[in-house]
């Protein structure tokens, strides 16, 4: 049992970044919960006057949800760590190793589901629906969807950008699923329970026979990669793009269409939980598109490591190298960004998104890409505490700002100020990144697994 606990601790706090995310999650959940429980009733729930502005109320209401998401993603080390241990000699060596590893996974998902269900029940506190029932339903569905989510995270961790996008699509679907079961209380829980049981049985079986499957899987993967090509390089691109992985932006750009369509499907008849269907609620479409805008930028985090090979092959100084890398990434980011623009406007209008939000949303999404691009370029050595906190804070700020921008009640001056502020932050990041690249020390960047595999 102490092994299970110790494993779970490692899942949530193993890396600096995840420890920060988990900590933020716990704080937000605790803070948001107490805010919702002990603060005077908020306008959106009762129609009574409140001392908070609508924007502040939105933030407070969303805080537990944001915290819960942080807790969920805080354990995202679990799939990778579990796989590593499962395919090693340790599963056989450690006393009751397999059983304890499997138990740790189940307990983690259960814990995360419990937190999610408790958070969800909060929103039904002052409604006539019994909390116990809400918790039970939420728990069942969460168990199922978070299991799927972690499987998706596992998949994303092992694949290149196109796989990551497909994974993102599945993740969004997994997160959106519970809403269906919430909205219709009469839906039976038998389905989810059976699905859960089957899923975990399959996982356990796969897990327990992993050492036997691993060499077979490796061989299959090798032959697959051989046939379909490991690099996205299709010839005619420049060497710099090949090295950085930006040679072919189309898979990434078009791959976004899948999660966009899936999210659009789920948002068709979306009724925000806890709110009456009125205009005061932020439209979630911008939120989703902003998430996607961040993905293409996040690829730059490998830029520093991969540029090591460029240093040896070219005549560029570090400043020139930074400029070229920046240009290469922006050139390839145009494509996914363009797709996002089209999706934002087209699907946004279909979903009856307020025009103001659409208009400002375009700029907002660009700022999102810029922020994540330069954040990625800032990673020139191992991710330390400061950078981790900065990254998480920036992303949270971006997400919260996206909700403000999407709320019809927000004045346009606020929106402009927000976007300007975020754009300025992006520029600051750029300056910081440029300065770091001037002193880039490749000894500090260890080659990541993808470059090693490509080499």
């Amino acid at each position: 049992m102490k092994a299970v606990a110790r494993l779970m601790l490692a899942y949530f706090t193993g890396t600096r970044l995840l420890a920060v995310v988990t900590a933020i999650g716990v704080v937000c959940v605790a803070g948001g919960t107490s805010a919702l429980l002990y603060l005077p009733p908020l306008v959106a729930q009762n129609g009574l006057p409140s001392r908070f502005t609508l924007a502040q109320e939105t933030a407070i209401t969303m805080l537990p949800v944001a915290g819960m998401l942080c807790v969920v993603f805080g354990a995202s080390l679990m799939p990778a760590m579990l796989t590593r241990l499962a395919t090693s000699h340790y599963t056989h060596l450690l006393p009751y190793g397999r059983a304890k590893l499997l138990a740790s996974a189940l307990c983690t998902v259960a814990l995360v589901s419990a937190v999610a269900s408790a958070t969800a029940s909060l929103y039904y506190l002052r409604t006539p629906i019994p909390i116990g029932l809400v918790f039970e339903r939420a728990f069942t569905v969460s168990l199922l969807t978070y299991t799927l989510l972690y499987i998706v995270l596992w998949f994303m961790g092992r694949s290149r950008s196109i796989g990551k996008l497909v994974g993102l699509a599945a993740a969004i679907a997994a997160l959106a699923l519970p809403l269906r079961f919430f909205a219709v209380p009469s839906m039976s829980l038998v389905g989810p329970w059976i699905a859960c049981a089957l899923l975990w049985a399959a996982l356990a079986a796969g897990f327990l026979s992993a050492p036997r499957i691993a060499p077979v899987a490796a061989r299959l993967k090798h032959s697959f990669v051989e046939r379909f090509g490991a690099a996205s390089y299709r010839g005619g691109g420049r060497e710099i793009d090949f090295m950085l992985g930006t040679a072919n932006p189309w898979p990434l750009a078009l791959g976004q269409v899948v999660p966009l369509l899936i999210a659009a499907y789920f948002l068709r008849g979306y009724v925000p939980v806890g709110f009456a269907p009125n205009e005061a609620a932020p439209h979630p479409w911008l939120f989703f598109v902003t998430i996607l805008s961040v993905v293409s930028g996040a690829m730059t985090s490998v830029a520093a490591t991969r540029s090591r090979a460029l240093w040896l092959r070219g005549h560029w100084t570090r400043e020139e190298l930074f400029a070229r890398v920046e240009r290469a990434f922006w050139a390839s980011a145009c494509f996914p960004l363009g797709v996002l623009f089209v999706a934002l406007v087209a699907i946004g209008s279909y979903l009856a998104m307020p025009t103001k939000a659409l208009a400002f949303g375009l700029g907002f999404v660009s700022v999102g890409t810029a922020l994540s691009t330069y954040l990625g370029l800032l990673i020139t050595a191992a991710v330390g505490w400061r950078l981790a906190v900065l990254a998480v804070a920036t992303m949270l700020a971006l997400m919260v700002a996206s909700m403000y921008v999407a709320t019809p009640a927000t004045p346009w001056t606020t929106i402009v100020a927000l976007e300007a502020g975020l754009a300025a932050t992006a520029l600051v990041f750029r300056q910081l990144a440029a300065r770091r690249w001037r002193h880039l020390d490749w000894m500090l960047c260890r080659p990541d697994s993808t470059t090693r595999a490509a080499a």
Binding site: A10, T15, L77, R84, L93, L94, Y96, G97, P211
Partner: protein, 292 residues
């Protein structure tokens, strides 16, 4: 007679029709330090993994602590330690976290030993595994296998990436482990000089079999190099029994033989009417002669 820590009888393993090992028999007693030698691809790792119970044998049996190794009960696993050839550490964790996770599985973990060794071996436990050099990672892997004080410690090329100082520290630790005579160590290595110092039993894996399985001292007595010097030219056919290789040069000859004994000495000298000088070989020489 106590139960040997590990024992195999006519053990065999084949992958997809290809034989990797056949007819392997051995036993490991408490206090043994067994050195496993063999060319790359000879089957050393397979042999160790079979002993570990990581894969089932396709022929014969292999037992650890009296149980079939493939079905070793959970409680007995705490007496077993293993260091794989390629480290299996979780890159994202710090060394301390990795140790903490592994330690939590065992009922007894010697924190003091691990901390003391990490200081002597200069492994910074606060460092992230991702940023460690290959040598550091190997040292950490060894630490992970020592912490629960296993009775049987199996190591697959544990010092391949270590500098001579680290290697000597490792050797000393192995001696420490085996010194009380109650624990056993089995390790494979290409660094023959280390094996020569440490091992009291040698297993030589050659052509899918154990060419030699036994006492190191007997091995040295058995495989020797003979320098034959005669006043006259030697006969064409020397007919030295169990010769592994020979070189002739008129009235002198050098022959490497196996299964040598003192009685043969006098016999040979008399038959060839020559001086026969016996040169003992180092383990490396023995290994090279066997693979000539």
């Amino acid at each position: 007679m106590s139960v040997p820590y590990a024992a195999a009888r006519r053990l065999g393993k084949a992958f997809y029709g290809k034989t990797v090992l056949e007819d392997v028999s051995f036993s490991v007693e408490p206090g043994d330090i067994v050195g496993v030698l063999g060319k790359n691809g000879a089957g050393k790792t397979t042999l160790l993994e079979l002993m570990l119970g990581f894969s089932p044998p396709t022929a014969g049996t292999v037992e650890v602590f009296g149980h079939p190794s493939f079905r070793l009960p959970g409680a007995e696993k705490a007496r077993l330690g293993f260091v794989p050839q390629q480290d299996e550490l979780v890159n994202q964790l710090t060394a301390a976290d990795q140790i903490g996770v592994i330690a939590s599985f065992y009922p007894r973990w010697d924190d003091e030993l691990v901390n003391a060794l990490s200081r002597t071996w200069e492994v910074d436990l606060r460092e992230r595994i991702k940023g460690m050099s290959v040598g550091q990672r190997q040292k950490l892997s060894i630490l992970l296998a020592l912490g629960h004080r296993p009775d049987l410690l199996i190591l697959d090329e544990p010092v391949a990436s270590l500098d001579p100082v680290a290697r000597r520290q490792f050797l000393e630790q192995i001696i420490d482990v085996a010194a009380d005579g109650r624990r056993a160590v089995v390790f494979s290595s290409h660094i023959v000089s280390d094996v020569e110092r440490l091992a009291n039993k040698i297993w030589i894996v050659k052509d899918h079999r154990l060419y030699w399985q036994g006492d190191f001292d007997s091995l040295k007595d058995s495989i020797v190099r003979l320098h034959i010097r005669s006043a006259r030219a030697l006969p064409d056919a020397l007919a030295v029994p169990n010769a592994l290789s020979s070189q002739r040069n008129g009235s002198t000859a050098t022959v490497v033989v196996r299964d040598w004994s003192v009685e043969l000495h006098g016999e040979l000298a008399a038959r060839l009417a020559a001086e026969v000088e016996v040169e003992p070989l180092t383990l490396e020489d023995i290994f090279l002669e066997l693979h000539r």
